[in-house]
């Protein structure tokens, strides 16, 4: 076969690239958010507009967004790290203080002092959520324990009896959502409004038998974890196991064009798109054409997002009147979203217009995910085909991938709206503060701005497509982006289902469910212990706070643990589960501030990414990465059984090894090289926020996240600088596209091979032995590459805490 010159392929693919880009943008960037908004406004008019709290006929705030309280007669909420004023809903943020940062201990000491000063007689240990900053800075809730702690002070200040105030608190306790999700909690604004009503004698003190829980009782627990937490964890695992089989089979049907319930709808749209774009869906591509198509397609993706940001001030749907984004940041953002990374060096609320988010960023959330899925399907086709040359048509696979994501996103976005995530094109609303507060300049602030927007439609794909780019700065820690424990469960679930189900898609397409399940089991064998270890690390709390009179023990009234940077409504276990899920999947959404995790859990999140984002990994990219590790593992295993290794019947030879080795090498080299560059240059060092080894971890995390296309951050790092914008953009681009092109080259080589029939001498690539070996290879490659770096970051930090007598092991 004569090889077509690349230039002629580019010319041929340019037209479909541009046309398909605009058609899909129209569908997922315009139609989709408008449809979601329409349905949301009809079905959930309150929730979709900021869930405003109407109290005595007046808007009193948002049910979802916390307000600052500092007067002693009010219950105080979580400390907030937003600036210039606490609970600044226009710029959500956590403190990002590392667990051993002396500034954290100082801040906690100050807060403990303030609580003691306000109520000197109260000598109880202070519940941890009352002295640690929340992840969003807008946490509307406190734990039940934190509410009880404040009862004596509020009763005294209000001239009420303690039982009266306790009864009021009890009436305000929100139990675990649907009995299972999250933590029992108290909405501080709602409680304080009720308190004012009682003082104003508008309502009477509710009769309550109390919460029924005796705070001194140790909570029911198993292996050191509360039963309630076990339920959430196991429900998650069970539901994922339950969904992957049908979801995987359905995706396989769509990719292979087999009829399914969705096909009448899908076929009609598909045909229209292909007709307009001039794509012959029957015309297959060899690997080179496929790779060129992917690269050509990246051009409008990056370019349009880049230019949208530069001209957003003249475009519609910019109610806040935001100005143009600086070019280096715009470039970083464009690359970030096109590569499925969603590294965010900006504060969205004050940087990106609704239009930029909706028609630029959210579109990339769909398209970048679809590109990853298409490349994966091409690789799967290469494994299934015998002595072929073509690996599918990129435009067909891309369109079908979008069509897989779209209906699921519709469901997720409406679920989120029902929980209180905004979905509107109206601008921010201003609500009064119940307890006005001074900003850092000493000016009295009496109102709070609740940012709105087409949030739910974007958050849905942000999770489902393992993108992770938040509509708000605090990402999924933000009470509007992730309003309830159930919403949090849905979001966590949405991150993992496609990467996990794609394993089963692979199994269905290759004709052996066991082979798909084997990869899923391998991923789970790495994932579950990491979850367990991280939960243990976070649940134990921060030993630096213990001597300050802070109660971090889990009970029925609080989740306890290391609450700095975390939200009360979720509690420790769901938060840690989210954190591990988001780092192993290359999603990068966060529902807590990773910078404030304990060194061990922080190290685990770093290591999750350093494993190559193959444990579930990004949609598509995770499984193709996993298959590449399977090639390496099978190569060594094959040698050990004495024959040229073959994976799924395809012989692994020089070319495959070359591609596989380079694919694994690229992100490792990027991470090590750029972290070195950053730590050696003033520009790199300038971004560091936390001192000591934790600061090193911030830089390492940034380049790990960028190179592996994760997008989460140790967000204390000031990443919006010329150096970081350009350096991370480079890492994201190379980490994504070099890997894709090499993977496609690998597919191009595999597809030409015969399929060796399995015999007694064939190593079964679905048996436990191979699964364990694969796990071993993945962990060893990750560990050997990054153990030294980790030992100067999280490990040094952790060992330092042990040596400092803070942690006893």
């Amino acid at each position: 076969m004569a090889t077509e010159p690349v230039q002629s392929i580019i010319r041929k693919q340019a037209k479909p690239a541009v046309l398909i880009f605009f058609l899909l943008t129209l569908i997922v960037g315009i139609l989709y958010p408008f449809i979601v908004t329409g349905i949301a406004q009809v079905l959930f008019p309150v929730q979709s507009n900021g869930d405003l709290l109407i109290h005595n006929g007046k808007i009193a705030g948002s049910s979802q967004v916390g307000q600052p309280f500092s007067s002693p007669q009010y219950f105080w909420g979580r400390p907030s790290a937003t600036s210039p004023v606490p609970y600044n809903a226009g710029a959500s943020s956590g403190s990002n203080l590392g667990p051993d940062n002396p500034a954290l201990a100082d801040a906690v000491k100050t807060r403990v002092g303030a609580l003691h000063a306000a109520d000197p007689k109260n000598t109880q240990e202070i519940p941890v959520d009352l002295v640690t900053a929340s992840g969003s800075g807008l946490d509307p809730d406190i734990s039940v324990a934190a509410a009880y702690y404040q009862v004596p002070r509020v009763a005294r200040e209000r001239n009420l009896s303690e039982p009266e105030v306790s009864a009021l608190v009890n009436s305000q306790v929100q139990q675990r959502q649907f009995v299972i999700f999250g933590e029992p909690r108290v909405n501080v604004l709602s409680l304080n409004l009720a308190l004012d009503d009682i003082s104003a004698e508008k309502i009477s003190v509710p009769q309550s038998a109390g919460s029924g829980a005796d705070p001194t009782d140790p909570p029911a627990s198993l292996f050191g974890m509360r039963i309630a937490d076990w339920f959430q964890l196991l429900l998650f695992i069970l539901l994922v196991m339950f969904i992957v089989v049908p979801l995987g089979a359905w995706m396989a049907k769509i990719y292979t064009g087999k009829p399914n319930f969705f096909s009448p709808f899908l076929e009609r749209i598909e045909q229209k798109i292909f007709l307009i774009a001039g794509v012959d869906p029957g015309e297959e591509m060899d690997w080179k054409q496929f790779a060129v198509a992917v690269m050509v397609f990246s051009v409008p993706c990056i370019a349009v997002v880049f230019f949208l940001q530069l001209v957003q001030q003249v475009l519609p749907l910019n109610p806040a009147g935001l100005s143009a984004v600086p070019p280096d940041l715009a470039l970083n953002t464009a690359v970030s979203f096109a590569t499925n990374t969603n590294w965010q060096a900006y504060v969205p609320e004050v940087t990106m217009s609704y239009f930029t988010q909706m028609a630029g960023l959210a579109v990339q959330n769909f398209l970048s995910a679809a590109v990853g899925m298409s490349v994966l399907v091409a690789l799967i086709l290469a494994f299934t085909r015998k002595s072929g040359t073509t690996i599918g048509n990129f435009w067909v696979l891309l369109t079908r991938s979008v069509m897989i994501l779209l209906p699921i996103c519709l469901v997720i976005s409406l679920l989120l709206v029902s929980q209180g995530t905004p979905q509107t094109f109206s601008g921010a609303v201003t609500v009064p503060l119940l307890d006005p507060v001074n900003d850092s300049a000493g000016t009295l602030v009496t109102t709070q701005t609740i940012p709105l927007g087409p949030v739910a439609s974007q958050v849905a794909i942000k999770h489902l497509g393992t993108n992770g780019g938040g509509f708000y700065n605090a990402n999924s820690a933000h009470p509007l982006e992730n309003p309830t424990p159930f919403a949090n469960f849905v979001e966590t679930f949405a991150i993992i289902i496609i990467p996990a189900a794609l394993c089963m898609t692979f199994g269905a397409m290759i004709g052996s469910r066991r082979k798909g399940a084997a990869l899923l089991i391998a991923m789970s064998l790495i994932f579950l212990p990491l979850v367990g270890l991280a939960i243990w690390s976070e649940g134990a709390g921060n030993p630096a706070l213990s001597p300050l009179g802070v109660d971090q023990a889990p009970s029925d009234l609080q989740s306890g643990g290391n609450m700095e940077g975390k939200e009360v409504r979720f509690g420790i276990v769901p938060t840690v589960l989210f954190a591990v899920v988001t780092t192993v999947t290359s999603c990068g959404a966060v529902d807590a501030m990773h910078d404030s995790f304990m060194p061990l859990a922080g190290g685990i999140m770093l290591f999750d990414m350093q494993l190559g984002e193959v444990v579930f990994g990004g949609v598509g990219s995770g499984l193709y990465g996993m298959l590449i590790f399977a090639i390496i593992a099978m190569f060594i295993a094959g040698l050990m059984v004495g024959r040229t290794p073959e994976l799924y019947g395809k012989k692994i030879e020089q070319f495959e090894m070359k591609m596989a080795t380079i694919v694994i090498l690229i992100p490792i080299l990027l991470i090590l090289a750029f972290t070195s560059l950053a730590v050696l240059t003033p520009a790199g060092q300038a971004g560091v926020f936390n001192p000591g080894p934790h600061g090193f971890s911030e830089i390492l995390y940034a380049f790990t996240s960028a190179s592996q296309n994760n997008g989460s951050a140790f967000a204390g790092l000031s990443a919006n600088s010329l150096f970081y914008n350009l350096a991370t953009a480079f890492c994201m681009f190379v980490g994504r596209y070099a890997t894709i092109v090499l993977t496609l080259a690998l597919a191009g080589s595999l597809v030409t091979k015969k399929i060796v029939p399995a015999g007694e001498g064939t190593l079964r690539d679905y048996r436990l032995l191979f699964i364990v070996w694969l796990v071993f290879v993945i962990i060893v490659v990750g560990a050997l590459s990054f153990l030294p770096a980790l030992s100067l970051g999280p490990i040094a930090e952790y060992m330092g805490m042990i040596a400092g007598g803070m942690i006893h092991v």
Binding site: M640, G642, R643, L677, R764, L784, A796, I802
Partner: protein, 699 residues
């Protein structure tokens, strides 16, 4: 394995000394670059040596003693790896040398190009020119006569001679070589015992099989095999990672010193030591030795090959095509039963049978005599008595009549294939009885060969001739099946006979009534199904199939076309050898895989030895990770890393233990031994070395 045929490595005087010298010579970076892993280690050694020299001036980054010790052991690491390779080469060379003895430059009688061949006549003197054998080129004609040594490989185009091939085969009985047919190939170095031959030279000097093999071993032309290259890519990838890890650590350490405000930046010496310890030096250093040793093991079994690729392919073979005769069955059919018909007594039949076969020197004929003697207790005298009385005339087998027999006066005894005898009986006016047909059919159905015997045109009975399956071959096939190798029997027999033998021998499949075309087709079918096929062959008509097969072993007694089409030659001409070749191939790959796993698994322990000590000045808390309580962890790890190469040389040369087992079992065993073993061993080894270092007063 047929150990009796294994050629033991000759004791080589000065083998180790020569290997030691070669190890030093191989330090030349120009040659070492072929092994990228060890090349980087050498670069590291050179770098630390410079640092040592700098330290001697008092401006070193660390105490000169420490840098010097690290540097020395890094050099040892390279030297040990070189030594392993040199040792393997030395042993291979010794093997090859013993083969090459017959390959010495000899004089050859070259025939003038003007000479025209006259069949059966020796060339005249004037056409003969004596030249050096190295001057011979392909297609030249040479003349050899009794007492000459055949100078080069070639094909007999005229003459018949007995040839002593014991130098190659070890078999002392001379063999006949003649033009045409399956006995026309001659090997350089063998000697003519009688008569003369005209030989067409089949290869330019240096291109013969043996030359190929010698160059494969000697390294000059040694090309890496596909699997070796693929493995090298992985090792190179790991090496690049570890270079990056070590280089990045310098930056990370410098930053950490600044951030912690304590300690000093890690020294380059330590980073080089860390890199060398992590780099897959164990497998990298032994890789070529493993490959050479694989070829060496092949030579020890008297198999020579033209490519290392073929040995690797042998490990992948999943279909073995085996000739029935000689491989699965003893060479020949043997009589197992006499069945009298038409009222003949068994005694009469046996007697006649013996008589008819007395002069039949074929193995079948002899087996009839033996059967008559052993089973029917016919003594020689019975025969002898009749022998003296009347002159006997023996009728040899001819392809026209397809019968043989004996005439003794009026007594005409004939034996032969059933259809031929039926015709003979009918021409003599007798009819073929149903009893006879029944007996013939019964034997055929049982997979045997019926041989009808008739006296004066009247049937006496039938001999049941049967293929005898070789002892132990069935068990061998069971083993092969466990290894995932399918065995296919190739035979010219009819389906019925073939099926019976196939069932008895336990092969998976068979090809009956095989022709060269059907063999070729069968191989192509298997290959199209993704399988790797190995076969043996000797005849010219095997050549196309041999050329098609992935692993093709030609018998040394085979024809030149067969030998050229093959990629291995079995000097013993033993068709069972194929099984051993497969095992050698598998063992070669397994040794590579096992040592790769071992090498990588080692790294975990080395991290624990080096990292805590390297960064202790910055983060003293990391000292808690020094789980072994080492005092000289870095030096101990480097020493261990060097010594483990030496310790594993025997394994590399011998190959890992190989037993027939399924892939799963093999993987499990090797992971346990080399994976888990590779994790644990360095912890123990480094600790012991550290204790010894302390005892020696280091550190």
């Amino acid at each position: 394995m047929s150990d009796g045929e294994t050629r033991t490595a000759p004791a080589i005087p000065g083998l180790y000394r020569r290997a030691a010298v070669d190890a030093v010579l191989k330090l030349d970076p120009r040659t070492l670059i072929a092994n990228p892993v060890m090349f980087t280690v050498e670069a590291g050694s050179a770098l630390t040596t410079l640092l040592y020299l700098q330290a001697l001036t008092g401006a070193g980054e660390a105490p000169a003693g420490f840098i010097g010790a690290i540097s020395a052991w890094l050099w040892f690491t390279v030297l040990f790896a070189n030594f392993a390779e040199a040792l393997a080469e030395g042993r291979g060379k010794a093997q090859a040398d013993s083969l090459r003895k017959m390959r010495q430059d000899t004089s050859a009688k070259k025939l003038d190009p003007d000479y025209t061949l006259i069949r059966g006549r020796e060339p005249k003197e004037k056409y003969i020119a004596v030249v050096s054998s190295s001057a011979l080129r392909k297609n030249d004609l040479i003349y050899v006569k009794a007492g000459d040594t055949i100078p080069v490989d070639g094909e007999v185009i005229d003459g018949v001679a007995s040839v002593n091939e014991s130098a190659i085969t070890g078999e002392s009985a001379p063999v006949i070589r003649e033009s045409g047919g399956d006995r026309s190939a001659v090997t350089g170095g063998t000697g003519i015992l009688s008569d003369w031959l005209i030989i067409r030279v089949s290869a330019n000097p240096g291109e013969g099989f043996l030359d190929h093999m010698i160059s494969l071993i000697e390294g000059a032309k040694r090309q890496k095999t596909p699997n070796e290259i693929a493995l090298n890519i992985l090792l190179l990838g790991l090496t690049v990672i570890f270079i990056a890890v070590a280089a990045a650590l310098y930056a990370f350490s410098a930053y950490s010193v600044q951030a912690a405000g304590a300690g000093t930046t890690v020294t380059i010496t330590v980073l080089v030591a860390l890199f060398v310890c992590l780099a897959p030096t164990t497998i990298g250093g032994l890789l070529s030795a493993i490959g050479i040793a694989g070829m060496d093991r092949l030579i020890q079994r008297n198999v020579i090959t033209t490519s290392g690729r073929a040995i690797e392919a042998a490990g992948d073979v999943d279909v073995l095509l085996l000739d029935k005769t000689g491989t699965i069955t003893l060479g020949n059919r043997q009589a197992v039963e006499f069945i009298p018909v038409d009222g003949t007594t068994i005694q009469d039949l046996a007697e006649t049978a013996q008589l008819a076969s007395l002069a039949d020197e074929t193995p079948e004929g002899r087996s009839i005599v033996v059967l008559a003697k052993e089973k029917y207790e016919l003594r020689g005298r019975t025969v002898g008595a009749s022998e003296t009385s009347i002159e006997m005339q023996f009728i040899p087998f001819s392809s026209q009549t397809r019968m043989s027999g004996v005439d003794q006066g009026q007594l005409h005894i004939r034996k032969g294939a059933a259809d031929a005898l039926f015709r003979y009986i009918e021409t003599n006016g007798n009819s073929v009885s149903d009893e006879l047909r029944q007996a013939v059919d019964d034997i055929s159905r049982a997979g045997g060969t019926p041989l009808v015997v008739a006296q004066n045109g009247k049937a006496l009975g039938v001999f049941h001739l049967k293929d005898i399956v070789k002892g132990g071959i069935r068990e061998r096939f069971v083993q092969l099946r466990r290894m995932g190798i399918k065995t296919v029997m190739i035979t010219g027999d009819n389906r019925l006979t073939a099926a019976t033998i196939a069932a008895e021998a336990g092969v998976d499949d068979f090809l009956a009534e095989a022709t060269p075309e059907s063999k070729l087709r069968l191989i192509r079918e298997y290959q199209a199904g993704g399988r790797m096929v190995a076969m043996t062959g000797d005849g010219t008509n095997d050549a196309p199939a041999l050329a098609q097969a992935d692993v093709a072993v030609a018998m040394n007694t085979g024809t030149q076309p067969a030998r050229e089409a093959a990629n291995m030659i079995d000097l013993d001409s033993n068709p069972t050898k194929l099984i051993e070749i497969v095992e050698i191939g598998k063992q070669l790959l397994m040794t590579r895989g096992a040592l790769t796993t071992f090498s990588i698994a080692n790294d975990i322990a080395k991290y624990f030895a080096i990292i805590p000590i390297a960064f202790a000045s910055t983060y003293p808390a990391l000292a808690a990770l020094n789980v072994l309580g080492l005092h000289n962890g870095i030096l101990a790890a480097v020493i261990f890393n060097a010594l483990i190469i030496v310790a594993l040389i025997p394994l590399a040369l011998r190959g890992v233990q190989y037993r027939a087992m399924s892939a799963e079992e093999a993987l499990r065993n090797n992971i346990l031994l080399y994976g888990i073993g590779g994790l644990i061993t360095p912890f123990i080894g480094i600790k012991i070395i550290d204790i010894l270092l302390v005892l020696l007063g280091v550190g």
